[in-house]
Symmetry: C2
DNA sequence: CTGTTAGCGCCTTCAC
DNA sequence: GTGAAGGCGCTAACAG
């Protein structure tokens, strides 16, 4: 017994009448233990309610059943969902999750990264703030970027360009020809790529003969930005208005819907709105938001699988967004397309 | 140097020309090291980019710079805020935060609790699901319940009764006399206590001569519940309607506002709405939500301070909610109060 | 004040 | 197949 009342591997060995080596082998699931001893050891473990000391294990093997997660901000619903999925995966596999926030600050990111490293995690999954974080990573620690790419690391991402184009395809299929795109801040790669993908698809449709006008408005990813951009945009007579808005985030889209309602513009009859992300709130607003889902759960599963995949090299994977059609989009009113 | 390329305390000692004991003392912030040596050690640490091995430290001292956090669900904005505040406090104090979710499942809670324990955290802060979790806690581990009480543990809570009464006081001061209360699920202590506090204050006001009618509707804490209860309630002519709704959660309140708008009931002119919690969304909806703030940040600070307070016994503390007046409440229309 | 040293609990050779 | 023993990196107790 240790001071704190916990049994050690020696107590187990003594009770089972074997050596610590044998207990250790049983713990490791080593097949080379005779069945009788195995049962005795198991019984002793049970009786003493023995739990291996993770610290000792970590010290010896320089690796502990911990996975680090470093994200910009846990109060962002998108990252909260990601943390939730990863925590569940980790817990079910017997790993603990160390959570840390960079608050989009590169220095803080580097500091937090190193702080996580001190705990000798099996691996670290992180959402890079920008560029390559200034950290030294031991060869054996498995590190993976998620949601955003980071120089020098494998990454699990979503193809932003193609996914953003899905929103445009959907609107065009509904007959919309005058469309506004609410972009996110140009300082983030994801916002820029979404905008580029959206515009590239627009250009390609136009050169295929599709009549189409797209106006771009640049803002932030949040609710207020969506409200503000929409207010400027919708404050004109219907015949001059766009018939649809595609936004770079669900928050923007929800803000736009709110403004539309304030201005008496009916969604989706007078105006279609598409978001991006599929946060939980998207299916709770009225009307329920049509959006492009980022497959967070699958990304989390893939990331976790790679982190725990033994010694294989990490490799980047790219996912596709999926269009989720709900109630905020509808066919363009015919009188708007003509004339 | 160890295999993984990281310097150890011995490398630092060698480079600085001192013993490991001295380095250890410097690390511990021990004052009894001569200034010259201290500087040499610091320089060596810097040069080698030395990071103490937390596992070794944990093994030796049976205590590691880790705090465990066990909450029901990180995707709940209220808990996300709490996790955010705690993570920040922990990081700034040099602690790592192990995050774990119970998903309101008692068995899972117990399992996760023990899993955290294996990592020998300095302490654990947890939001109890119900009753006393079935766990064995070593004497030295500091455990604290937060947001909800748990038998056998000190807890950091909000006085639900008094806080809920604040909402009523506010509405009554605005002249409201017919009020609906949207309660949360009776299976949770917090929901029950909020309802009881609200009704107790109503009774006390009435017996002091204040004309007042309160109708209680029981639902869940979420958006949909608020919408549903409001729909049933508001679908009648103004003269039969309540003039105000107080809800047990911001989500319910926001749902109610949404329904009101759908039914053409103008908030706050025709109907005042008060929430509870002050989630981030509360100040983003239109109209911005009047609500009772739960002082999450202060609770987190108190909890963290206690956990890291050395050997003092933990003690329960109770906070008060604070009324945050925004735009969803206004004076009752005079014609409603008469007749 | 500083150096030396004995383990913390576990895993992993190395003998047998 | 099993036991014995060394040592992972660090802290704390004890000498000096």
């Amino acid at each position: 017994m240790t001071v704190d009342g916990h049994a050690t591997i020696r107590d187990v060995a003594a009770l089972a009448g074997v050596s610590v080596g044998t207990v250790s082998r049983v713990l490791a699931g080593n097949q080379t233990v005779k069945h009788g001893l195995l049962l005795r050891v198991r019984a002793a473990i049970e009786e003493l309610n023995y739990r291996p000391n993770q610290a000792a294990r970590a010290l010896r093997s320089n690796r502990v059943n911990v996975v680090g997660l470093l994200i910009p901000d846990i109060t962002n619903p998108f990252f909260a969902q990601m943390a939730n999925d990863l925590e569940r995966l980790a817990a079910d596999a017997g790993y603990a999750l160390i959570l840390s926030s960079s608050h989009n600050d590169q220095d803080r990111e580097a500091r937090q990264f190193m702080a996580i490293m001190e705990h000798k995690p099996l691996g670290v999954i992180f959402v890079p703030t920008k560029g390559r974080p200034d950290v030294v990573v031991p060869e054996r620690t498995r590190v993976l970027a998620i949601d955003r790419r980071a120089e020098g690391f494998a990454s699990i991402t979503v193809n932003q360009r193609e996914s953003a184009a899905l929103a445009l395809d959907h609107l065009v299929a509904l007959g919309h020809q005058r469309i506004a795109y609410f972009a996110g801040p140009e300082s983030t790669d994801n916002a820029r790529e979404r905008r580029e993908g959206f515009l590239a698809r627009a250009a390609s449709l136009r050169s295929a003969g599709q009549p189409l006008e797209v106006e771009v408005f640049i803002g932030d990813f949040d609710f207020e930005s969506g409200e503000k951009l929409a207010r400027a945009l919708l404050n004109c007579p219907p015949k001059y208005r766009v018939t649809a808005i595609a936004a770079a985030s669900d928050q923007q889209a929800i803000g736009a819907i709110r403004t539309a309602r304030d201005l008496g513009v009916v969604v989706p009859t007078d105006l279609s709105v598409v978001g991006f992300d599929d946060i939980t709130l998207a299916s709770l607003v009225v009307p329920r938001l049509t959006t492009v889902l980022q497959p967070v759960r699958e990304m989390a599963e893939t990331a976790f699988k790679q982190i725990t995949a033994g010694t294989d090299a990490m490799k980047s994977e790219e996912f596709m967004g999926r269009l989720i059609v709900r109630d905020s989009t509808a066919a363009a009113a015919p009188h708007v397309t003509s004339d």
